[in-house]
Amino acid sequence: MGAPLRAIDVVVIGAGHAGLAMSRCLSERGIDHVVLERGEIANSWRTERWDSLHLLTPNWQSRLPGFAYEGNDPDGFRTIPETVAYIDRYAKVIDAPVKTHTKVTSVQPVDTGYQVITEERAWSCRALVVASGACNIARVPSLAAAVPARISQLTPMQYRNPSQLDQGGVLIAGASATGTQLAHEIQLSGRPVTISVGEHIRMPRLYRDRDIQWWMDASGVMDERYDHVDDIVRARKVPSLQLTGSPQRMTLDLNSLTTIGVKLIGRLAGIGDGKVQFSGSLRNQCAMSDLKMNRLLDAIDTWATENGFDGKVPAPTRLEPTRVEDSPPLGMNLNSGEIRTIIWATGFRPDYSWLGVPVLDRKGYIRHDGGVVSSPGMYLMGMPFLRRRKSTLIDGAGDDARDLSAHLESYLAGRR
């Protein structure tokens, strides 16, 4: 390597909310570190989100270490530019040692820890924090390869707004937060939407006059720890809650989509000879989702009673069960011209193509125990249910960073 080598105690990869929260906690402990960022601060938020997206959590809830909401709309939902500005300001307030436009091309294990290679130099560090995000690559199922060429295919990372799409029908695969939000705005743009529904989690935006996130936060659901849940592998795979952050605080569920004319179909099961087949499991997917939602609401009601909220907030209510037609279609001819675009809202996965440390499981995810990676001195941040249910949220980064920075400090001191 011709590039100069610099030694530092800790390298943090990624200057999003998770990497910055960790940076703040490391600074508090007086630990020398650098945060390497491939683009700008909050890069994914700047470059990989659609125009109308708002955060799914209310403004008050994006609490980062040493930084909380001070505006006059605590129950509102940030737009993407507002989210970028928020994270940008956090980086300044905590004076994070960020190097922007510094893309990490490789990380290798060495005797003294890790060597982190960027385009201009190599860093040698004793501990490493991977905060490069959970959603770097849009997942596209392999059956996408069989879609006829006349149909445009798009992932949510490429989607910005409906005007980008041809006039005509749109098939959206996936009915979690992304799929339902896109279905809503695309249907309203005059393009008839068919949405393919697999496992999803239905949730009212407001429940008993408070935001659902408030209830989950107050009742301790969000603080549930990774080592206290029955099946953490499953808990980490749970899809995003079917929520949207709109100024009207609307509930976006399959019934609201059906009401505006969106057609529900089962999971995409196969494509061949220009025909797509849908699973016959739609009814059960919807029944499961209704049952899960009602279980959570039951738990919230119990907590509300125990904590003296009855009488202070409206009485419990339940949403109408998800409406499914008697015989939803099981197939569609993709050559009929009815569908012009397919959007794969089938989830995201992290990109670890640069990571040369052998810590990946057979699905390509980093093996870790609450963010403590199996390779000594290596830590993970910003992944679903990393240490707590809220680890998925901006609001979860603080507690995770506090715990993991404490672990990291003892590691550097030779106590771990």
């Binding site: 699973s279 499991s281 059960n284 499961m288 009602n294 039951d298 015989s327 057979r362």
Partner: protein
Amino acid sequence: MAETGKKVDNGVNVEALLGAREALTAQPEAAKFRWRASCKWMNGTHSHSTVKEFFGLGDNQKHVTEFKFDADHPEIFASEDKGATPVEFVLVGLASCLTAGIAAVAQNRGIQLRSVVATIEGAMDIQGILGIDSDVRNGFDGIKVTYKIDADATPDEIKALVAQSQKRSAVYDIVTNPTNVTVQVN
């Protein structure tokens, strides 16, 4: 959820199932099974099938006994009715798979079952199989399963058992999703 401390016994060894799940997560190759049956034509629409061996856990396995099944068609189809029709075997497969799943899920969730009874009905327009109308499919238009369940659980907990059983059922998946089928003649 049922009270903890109370012994729940649905005759399902959940510990063994969970142990197998853990072992097979570590050794995914052993999880690859092949299920087999053989079928011999007897006469007319009557056939005789047997099920004995299968492959799994990296080795050939055997049922404790050979199971025998006669399939035929009813007399109104001018057949001799020496067994259930093949489509009824599909219904039996689906109902028994879902029912086994309910017992396993209930055991895992600590719910004591007292009685589980399913009735299952598949609707079919036989204009398809008779070649009268090519727009009518050969198979079922739809299948309806109705459960009567008596258990130590709330109605929603019972519904959740049935929902989870569908989620994990092999036959439910086989029936609701397409499968590549290769039929060859040797």
